[in-house]
């Protein structure tokens, strides 16, 4: 050591030799790392797959909600702002009760068939409600034109 220049100090430090690495350390370290990798429940690919599935599910749920809301808005607009699902079902129930009191046996059977189609409306299928209503209207028209009508 001749001077105390920072460069000399660096060189002198560099001249100090490091402790030797214990023999077999490489095999030990790599072996345990490989064992860890084998024991992984979620490999990188399965993890990526799980994340992709979660994203897909979330997107489909959100998409379904958005589509349902858009359809609801469309129907509400078609029905002049009336709320769609519940009032229609209620209307239908009242109508069926009233008509069944003053109709023939054949008519009652037909009404029963229409009424059985009603539970589908509870699951929120507005299409079913509208179809049931149309069928009921058609049946009422037929009833009013037929000679067996009570009136």
């Amino acid at each position: 050591m001749t001077t105390n220049d920072p460069q000399d100090i660096e060189n002198n430090l560099l001249s100090l030799s490091p402790q030797p690495v214990p023999p077999g350390l490489r095999e030990k370290v790599i072996g345990s790392a490989l064992k860890t990798r084998q024991n992984l429940v979620m490999t990188p690919w399965t993890r990526a797959g799980a994340i992709a599935c979660a994203v897909l599910i979330a997107v489909s749920v959100l998409g379904d909600m958005a589509v349902a809301r858009a359809q609801n808005d469309n129907l509400r607009a078609l029905l002049n702002g009336r709320a769609v699902a519940r009032p229609l079902a209620e209307d239908l129930g009242l109508l069926l009760a009233e008509i069944s009191a003053q109709t023939s046996d054949v008519g009652k059977a037909e009404l029963k068939r229409i009424a059985l189609a009603r539970p589908a409306t509870r699951s929120g299928s507005l299409q079913d409600v509208l179809e049931a209503r149309e069928r009921l209207k058609g049946w009422l028209d037929r009833e009013s034109e037929s000679p067996e009508s009570p009136d």
Partner: protein, 161 residues
């Protein structure tokens, strides 16, 4: 980069750094194993790592902290004896000449954060930027710690003359 390549590039440097940090060959081996297990678990995408050397040292540093926390937990809150932590003399072979011994002794008296920067810079060849990334400090701070450490070593050597 697979695990063998990773070990080939950084394994021995990491071992020496861990020996310097912990002062015990057994602890250094344990933490090195844990560090590589972590690399294996996370299947690091090395193409996306901008400074691999700084990254591996940072991971090793975090593992040291976890190891020390565990050790502290096992000791039931009592102080863990870490007499040889941050010790140059634990990581370096004793030099034959007295001037080398003196330098080692002076280096071991530096503040810990300065010792760490000196070790990473001189023995692991990290740049100040990489040291900054590994230690979570700005590169300028790493550079100034290095400068202060060399200045202290120089002053110590002058004093002993």
């Amino acid at each position: 980069m697979n695990l063998e390549d990773l070990y080939g590039r950084y394994g021995e440097n990491l071992y020496r750094y861990l020996l310097f940090r912990l002062g015990s060959p057994e602890d250094a081996e344990d933490v090195l194993q844990e560090t590589f297990c972590r690399f294996a678990r996370y299947a690091v995408r090395w193409r996306l790592v901008r400074k691999p050397q700084a990254f591996v040292f940072r991971v090793a540093r975090n593992e040291v902290n976890r190891f020390l926390r565990r050790k502290l937990g096992r000791s039931g809150g009592d102080p863990v004896p870490l007499d040889r932590a941050f010790s140059f003399s634990a990581a370096l072979a004793a030099p034959p000449e007295p001037s080398g011994l003196l330098l080692l002794e002076l280096a071991d008296r530096l503040p810990e954060e300065q010792r760490e920067v000196i070790f990473m810079k001189i023995f692991d060849g990290l740049t100040f930027k990489e040291i900054g990334s590994a230690c979570g400090i700005p590169a300028n701070t790493a550079a100034s710690r290095y400068r202060y450490a060399l200045e202290k070593l120089r002053a110590g050597l002058e004093e002993r003359r």
